[in-house]
Amino acid sequence: MPDAPGVELLAQELREAHPDAVVATEHFRGKGAIQVKPERIVEVLRFLRDKGYRALMSVHGLDYYPEEPRLGVHYELLDRERVDRLTVKLRVSTDDPRVPSVTPDWPTANFQEREIYDMFGVVFDGHPDLRRILMPEDYEGHPQRRDFPVGGEPVLFTYNEDRGTGYTR
């Protein structure tokens, strides 16, 4: 795990290579995180890969509701040589949730970006096959958003089956 100055040094190198990319740095519970601008994520991850973080272990989305910008995407990087983990975070608003896809560089992100698109509605530009993955293809809405209600899904039971397709009402 890089210590707090280590994350700062890394962020400094990143700023020198890509002047407008880094938004903030963080060191929490022994682990570093760098927040970057969404449009620079591909360059940032490439830069960090050259620094040794060759494995992308997880990509996941989250909703910071009611904070703005609401949606977030996290990239968990791993350096197997130094056994070192680093999180790269970005935030996008729900009005224009577009993030460049890192799938061409990291094939492992394919399913995970699809899941984030499915669950949060973040659109990954350049993704080879951006479709819903867990929810049905004709599903409306993004269920992991925090303003999406639990139990908002109509279910066909025996008591409402005689209403035909109107059971959703």
Binding site: K31, L62, P107, N110, Q112, I133, M135
Partner: protein, 417 residues
């Protein structure tokens, strides 16, 4: 004129001579591609998995997994529950690795709380996780041999699996989804006589593994279907984010228990089996050896099981002992607070990875300072590993695809969550 006659006259007008002269540039009949739907209820899939397979004759040219059939929204449900009530739902994600799901989640919450876990609890966690690993591998061995057409192995594997589940029932009260791991430790100390039962199991199990290997290792059909089929090189596996036995079968000894020890794994002496070719046989052999190594870990943990409390004495997160409720007002208040609101967790974001039977289970928890998590996400290895199916089985026989799927060991409850 009836329609039948109409049809007959039409049939007589068909010019068969055109058929003898194929259209230039068109595909030969044997080069035509066939799209076959395997699943979602095919018996050879471990769960409800659908594969869109593009076949050229018997050769798989392309494969697309279609998932989501058992998506139950566990991550969404978790956001609506207090931290300690999330444990039972999160255990149900990958239903063959419940202790690992719980460990990843609890580890993340404990990191947020900066909570020290007693050594005895860490050892008890290790014992249960390694038993769980053996249990999961036994289910894998039984079902994968079932996929290859061997029913016998299944019965032998499930004989020992029952013993492990009996041990779980004895120590935790439940066979599966035990809710044994608590934030700060484990729910209860092991009962009297459990250690004896476990030692009997540990003495038995190596000879049982020999039995499975006697059944499988020299079986002509198994050897032909596993040896040299569907290998994938280490580099491609790393790019696809594959972890666990699949990666180790290709020769990369990455194991979080060694690389980033958690829950006192650094105290134990064990080896990490690796393969050489990364084919189906190596995937099989690596898991078989992992079971023996797990037995070694359990034995060491049982021998060195430290005395002391089984759960943290921090009453803000762990329930007070039952007898204190009758005598201590403070304990009663803590108990009431915990079972109604739950405990609050300082705001922050933590990703906690553990090494499960299928690879890296990483739980991401975001806390907003309340008593319910703002986001719980499980990086499930089955979900990520499933992406490696297509490169593995490309240009191999459809029968090898079934064998590869068996050796891939995806658990669809974990894939869909």
């Amino acid at each position: 004129m009836s329609t039948e006659l109409d049809y007959r006259t039409q049939e007589q007008q068909v010019d068969f001579t055109q058929r003898m002269h194929p259209v230039p540039g068109a595909a030969e009949p044997e080069q035509e591609l066939l799209t076959l739907n395997v699943g979602p209820h095919h018996p050879a899939t471990h769960g409800v998995l659908r594969l869109l397979v593009t076949l050229e004759g018997e050769i798989v040219r392309d494969l697309k997994p279609v998932i989501g059939y058992v998506h139950t929204g566990i991550e969404k449900t978790a956001e609506d529950k207090s931290y300690w009530k999330v444990i039972p739902v999160i255990e149900r994600m990958d239903y063959l690795a419940y202790f690992f799901n719980a460990m990843a989640y609890i580890g993340a919450v404990e990191t947020l709380l900066e909570l020290e876990v007693p050594k005895r609890a860490q050892y008890l966690r290790v014992i249960h996780m390694e038993l769980n690993r053996i249990m999961s591998h036994l289910v894998w061995l039984g079902t994968s041999m079932l996929d290859l057409g061997a029913v016998t192995v299944w019965w032998y594997c499930f004989r020992e699996r029952e013993k492990i589940l009996d041990l779980f029932e004895y120590s935790t009260g439940q066979r599966m989804h035990t809710r044994y791991f608590q934030v700060g430790g484990v729910a209860d100390d092991i009962p009297r006589g459990w250690e004896q039962k476990l030692r009997e199991f540990l003495a038995d199990m190596p000879s049982r593994i020999d039995q499975y290997m006697d059944l499988v290792n020299r079986n002509e059909i198994v050897l032909r279907r596993l040896k040299g089929t569907c290998p994938l090189d280490e580099q491609t596996l790393l790019e696809l984010g594959v972890t666990g036995p699949l990666l180790r079968a290709a020769g990369n000894p990455w194991d979080l228990r060694k690389a980033q020890p958690y829950s006192s794994y650094e105290d134990f002496d064990f080896k990490i089996p690796v393969g050489q070719r990364g084919d189906n046989w190596d995937r099989y052999a690596v898991r078989m050896e992992e079971m023996r190594q797990s037995l070694r870990i359990i034995e060491q943990a049982l021998d060195g099981l430290p005395e002391g409390p089984h759960i943290t004495d921090n009453r803000k997160v762990a329930l007070p002992p039952r007898h204190e409720l009758a005598t201590s007002m403070e304990a009663l208040i803590h108990h009431f607070k915990l079972v109604t609101e739950g405990f609050r967790v300082p705001p922050g974001e933590v990703y906690y990875p553990v090494e499960g039977p299928r690879g890296e289970y990483g739980c991401f928890v975001r806390s907003d300072g309340s008593s319910k998590p703002a986001r719980v996400h499980m990086r499930d290895p089955s979900f990520v590993n499933l992406q490696a199916t297509a490169p593995m089985v490309k240009d191999s026989y459809i029968a090898d695809m079934i064998a590869t799927l068996a050796m891939l060991d995806p658990v669809l409850g974990g894939v869909d969550r």
